[in-house]
């Protein structure tokens, strides 16, 4: 898997924003990616030193629209902690 295939998008939300203060950045990642994959991909794309990766399998949520029942897609979220002094310019924020 290529790095760009692993990291799908940054998560921008109040919660993820708060985490940036402790040098942790959140991404949606390929569901099949493992922590070592993610570490390598982030280091490659953003040119930073990663010191920790936590992943979360986001469970599908039931949704219904009228008579049609369904679920949202399952996906994987990764929170990556960078070594002190490293930064990622998230959409110009911070």
């Amino acid at each position: 898997m290529e790095a760009r295939e692993i990291i799908i998008r940054p998560i921008i939300s109040e919660k993820s924003y708060r985490a940036i203060d402790t040098n942790r950045y959140s991404f949606e990642v390929n569901y099949r990616a493992t922590k070592p994959h993610i570490r390598a991909a982030v280091e490659e794309i953003f040119n930073v030193k990663v010191i920790g990766v936590q992943t979360i399998n986001v469970k599908p949520k039931p949704k219904r629209r009228g008579a049609h029942a369904g679920v949202t897609r399952r996906w994987k979220k990764a929170v990556v902690e960078l070594a002190p002094g490293n930064r990622i310019e998230f959409f110009g924020a911070t």
């Binding site: 939300s13 109040e14 924003y17 110009g92 924020a93 911070t94």
Partner: protein, 502 residues
């Protein structure tokens, strides 16, 4: 902020203003903070998104344009204050085709109409013609007659027919082509003959009829009569049931003491005379004030800006509209009936509006020149007075006025009233100039020419003697006519002044 007055043409002023980049930055930041407080971005609760993200999302340019729009009026009024000018209109702002940019000062030009300079003329000790207050006997008589009519009694009449001025009771009915018209039917209908309450034909026909007499005659209904009956002729039948005449009370001391607190007729007359005199004196005082004020206004040179006059005229139109609506009409209806347009009405109102505006400016200028001011106590007193007049709570009224920003206008009103008092107080009532009975030069010349052809030359003295008699009348009439015109104008003024005060 750097402000320069670049041009002044009469009441129109052109300003050049430069807003420093720091001020611009400050405006930008304030705008961004405000936007952030309510920005809705996905992933954030409303208003919780970081300003940096909001800025990125909206773009600097949008925010800056918003910021400039938001601050412009403040910058403009700051510039006006710096130059000590007062605008009377919305300024025309010209950014000179430049888009504002951060880190660069923003320059703009503003064109606006300002308060005109008021060149006060004489306003102290103005001489106002004094009109003698005279109560004519006939006026007292009229009043007495009215009083007698009020206390008149109705007496049944026997032995004669109906006369004009009688009150009669009659059964009325009408038929149209043999069919009764219900709307015109009335039993024991009481009316005064000559009181114009019934059709003219009825009043005419009823004269000389006696009790229980019945008469039928044709009546042409007025064009405005409802139910398509307008203009039709109906057969009208009147049957007189009762005749009463009005008996005026005799003019005696006894009557006087019965209807008034006065013991004699003479005293009653005197009281009526005094009342009429008091009324006339009040009117004369009003006229004096109005005339003095108008003189002060006329002595003053002001180049009135058109916008002020127009705004005033529009206000007057709004007043007019309100008064129409309070009587259940509409402005549209009026326009249709009078075949006119709003524009035309405004145009006709302009002369009066101009005078009102000018009067206000003069009063302000006088107040300033004389250092007239309104104290807080006077404002409170006025509010209390208003509260009493409208039966509202003083505190509630004051709060409401304060909320609507109506306190300052009140203060101005008090100051203006004081200025009116000042002008009127210092005015001197003057005996009117004696009427000019001298012969105008033109008449003299005509007379001389005439006599020269008729008489031998050198007949100067008889010609002059002859001329005196006929010349008197036109000269006197001429002298009176302008005086009357003026009086009418003053009434207008007094009305305006009264309207303003209310």
């Amino acid at each position: 902020m750097k402000t320069t007055l670049s041009e002044r043409d009469g009441n129109t002023v052109k300003l050049t203003v430069e807003v420093s980049s720091e001020e611009l930055q400050e405006a930008f930041d304030a705008r961004l903070r405000r936007l952030s407080r309510e920005a809705r971005l996905p992933g954030f609760r409303p208003g919780k998104a970081p300003t940096a993200m909001v800025r990125r999302r909206l773009g600097d340019e949008t925010i800056l344009i918003d910021a400039v729009e938001e601050r412009m009026s403040g910058w403009f009024s700051g510039a006006m204050a710096e130059l000590g000018l007062e605008a009377v209109d919305h300024p025309q702002i010209d950014l000179e085709g430049e888009l504002p940019e951060l880190d660069r000062p923003l320059g703009f030009k503003a064109t606006v109409t300002v308060m005109p300079e008021v060149a006060l003329g004489e306003y102290k000790g103005l001489k106002v013609p004094k009109e003698p207050v005279v109560v004519e006997d006939s006026e007292v008589d009229t009043q007495m007659d009215r009083l007698r009519n009020e206390f008149a009694e109705l007496r049944p009449v026997t032995g004669r027919g109906v006369q004009k001025g009688d009150f009669i009771a009659a059964d009325l009915r009408a038929t149209l082509d043999g069919k009764p018209v219900e709307d015109l039917e009335a039993g024991d209908y009481v009316f005064e003959v000559g009181g114009e309450r019934v059709f003219a034909e009825v009043e005419e026909q009823v004269v000389n009829m006696s009790i229980d007499e019945e008469r039928t005659f044709p009546v042409v209904l007025p064009a405005a009569f409802p139910d398509d009956l307008g203009g039709r002729t109906v057969d009208f039948t009147v049957r007189v049931k009762d005749i009463k005449e009005r008996e005026l009370p005799p003019l005696t001391d006894k009557w006087a003491s019965e209807i008034s607190e006065f013991a004699t007729l003479l005293e009653l007359r005197q009281e009526i005379r005094n009342q009429i005199r008091a009324g006339k004196e009040r009117a004369a005082q009003q006229r004096l004030i109005a005339e003095a004020l108008q003189a002060a206004v006329d002595n003053t040179q002001v180049d009135l800006p058109e916008v002020m006059v127009r705004n005033q005229a529009e206000e007057m139109l709004a007043d007019f509209k309100r008064s129409l609506e309070s009587q259940g009409g509409t402005l549209e209806g009026y326009l249709q009936a009078a075949e006119t347009t709003v524009e035309q009405i405004i145009e006709t109102m302009k002369p009066r509006a101009a005078n009102t505006v000018k009067t206000g400016l003069v009063l302000d200028a006088v107040a300033k020149a004389e250092g007239l001011e309104a104290t807080d106590e006077e404002v409170s007193a006025l509010i209390a007075q208003m509260a009493a007049a409208t039966r509202t709570d003083v505190k509630a009224l004051e709060n409401r006025l304060r909320k609507n920003g109506r306190i300052e206008p009140l203060r101005e009103q008090i100051v203006r009233d004081k200025a009116v008092d000042f002008i009127a107080g210092s005015a001197v009532a003057e005996e009117p100039a004696p009427l000019d009975f001298s012969i105008p030069e033109s008449v003299k010349a005509a007379m001389a020419a005439k006599s020269a052809s008729a008489d031998a030359p050198g007949a100067d003295s008889p010609a002059a003697a002859e001329a005196e008699a006929p010349a008197e009348t036109p000269a006197a009439a001429e002298a009176e006519a302008p005086a009357r015109d003026q009086a009418v104008g003053n009434e207008d003024m007094a009305r305006d002044a009264a309207a303003e005060q209310s």
